[in-house]
Amino acid sequence: MTEHQAPRRPRRPGLLAVGGWSLAAFAVVLALLVAQMRVGRDPALGARPAAVAAAAPRRVLVRRVIVKRIVVDEVRDAEDGGATAPARKVVLVPQRTAAPAPAPAPAPAPLVTKTS
């Protein structure tokens, strides 16, 4: 006589196993996300553009302000006995030390047109 055995029902995983596997899967996914974030690939921000235009190199203008300062030492007259130190005068415009220009020549008398 043949005995029919009742089909075996698969064993249901235990409560601890299910919890353990879930925790492990969560940890794996979390680790992947952390790694991705660390390299700057934030999934919430979407993919980075394929080609980011290289920023034009910034031109740096160097502005040089040159101020000519000519220091003229004026020799004091002898009235103070030369005891004091020479005065120092700052002149911002180059000053010629040549002899003063002569007075302009008087303009010639106007030309006259008349019958001759």
Binding site: A105, P108, P110, L111, V112, T113, K114, T115, S116
Partner: protein, 310 residues
């Protein structure tokens, strides 16, 4: 800038030269004195007198004499015969046979009071000047025998232009040949010369202007004016048609022009033409006309400038 100035007597009048260097001024004087010696009709030894004495139809002439004759012919062409270089016999008949340099002119008011009825001068229909030819290729002047030439009508203007040519390299200069002025040089544009136009009645300035590169000249009856033995008055501006001094209603005319030759020609032509036609002749470059009664009339650009200023 230094400017040298030299005033001296030449061509029977006062000459004044202003130039930046002494050499230029001295060169101008030397050249003008040579010009006068060779072309004066009052010097028997001059080339002009030799030409007028010569009975040949073709007379050998220097480049200077040919230039002077050409200038006279140009003036005749420009004025259609009104400024005629062949009126020398009429000029002599009027009493201008010898130089009047240094001779005080007769009284202008008396001359105007005694003058005949005013009438515009006209060219002579025979136009003898058209039969005078300058042949530069052969170095001769050709004219009918007996036709005498007077280059004096255009001589001072031509002389001023010639000196200007010699001073052309200078930055600024002025040449005054007895009132015929020529100004030149690149700097004259920025620094023009002040010019006074003298009134014939009294000599005071009646108009002032600033002249850059260009010329101004005055012609009139007030300076070469004399009384003839018969008591009548005469002057040196001849009416080619009548051969007599022209009394047109104008005493002096001052003309502006690019060259002194043209200014002198225009001034003479305007005076000979009378008030209305004379003003029209000055319309292009401008000028000043003084009427017999002393009234001053501006013409051309000078009149427009005065109108804008008023």
């Amino acid at each position: 800038m230094t400017e040298h100035e030299l005033t001296f007597r030449c061509m029977g009048t006062d000459v004044r030269v202003l130039a930046p260097d002494r050499a230029g001024v001295d060169d101008a004087r030397e050249w003008l004195e040579s010009f006068d010696a060779r072309l004066s009709r009052f010097r028997p030894e001059s080339e002009l007198c030799a030409l007028n004495r010569d009975r040949c139809a073709a007379v050998s002439a220097s480049a200077l004499l040919r230039s002077a004759v050409s200038a006279g012919l140009w003036a005749a062409l420009r004025t259609r015969g009104l400024v005629d270089p062949t009126v020398l016999p009429a000029l002599r008949s009027a009493g201008y046979g010898a130089s009047l340099a240094g001779v005080a002119p007769a009284g202008l008011a008396a001359a105007l009071a005694a003058a005949p009825q005013r009438r515009a001068a006209r060219p002579h229909p025979a136009a003898r000047w058209r039969r005078v030819h300058v042949d530069d290729a052969h170095g001769v002047v050709r004219r009918p025998c007996g036709v005498e030439l007077d280059t004096g009508g255009t001589g001072k203007g031509l002389a001023a232009d010639a000196v200007a040519h010699r001073l052309a390299a200078r930055e600024r200069f002025a040449v005054d040949c007895g009132g015929d002025l020529r100004v030149g040089g690149d700097a004259a544009q920025q620094r023009p010369y002040e010019v006074e136009v003298a009134h014939p009645f009294g000599g005071e300035p009646m108009h002032r202007l600033w002249l850059g590169p260009g010329a101004i000249a005055t012609s009139g009856i007030d300076s070469r004016l004399w009384r003839r033995p018969d008591g009548t008055f005469a002057h040196h501006l001849i009416d080619p048609l009548t051969g007599a001094p022209a009394w047109t209603g104008l005493v002096t005319v001052t003309a502006l022009a690019p060259t002194a030759l043209e200014a002198e020609t225009l001034a003479k032509a305007a005076l000979l033409s009378g008030p209305s036609a004379g003003a029209a002749l000055l319309a292009e470059h401008g000028g000043v006309l003084v009427h017999d009664d002393g009234d001053v009339q501006l013409a051309g650009p000078l009149a427009r400038t005065r109108a804008r200023a008023a």
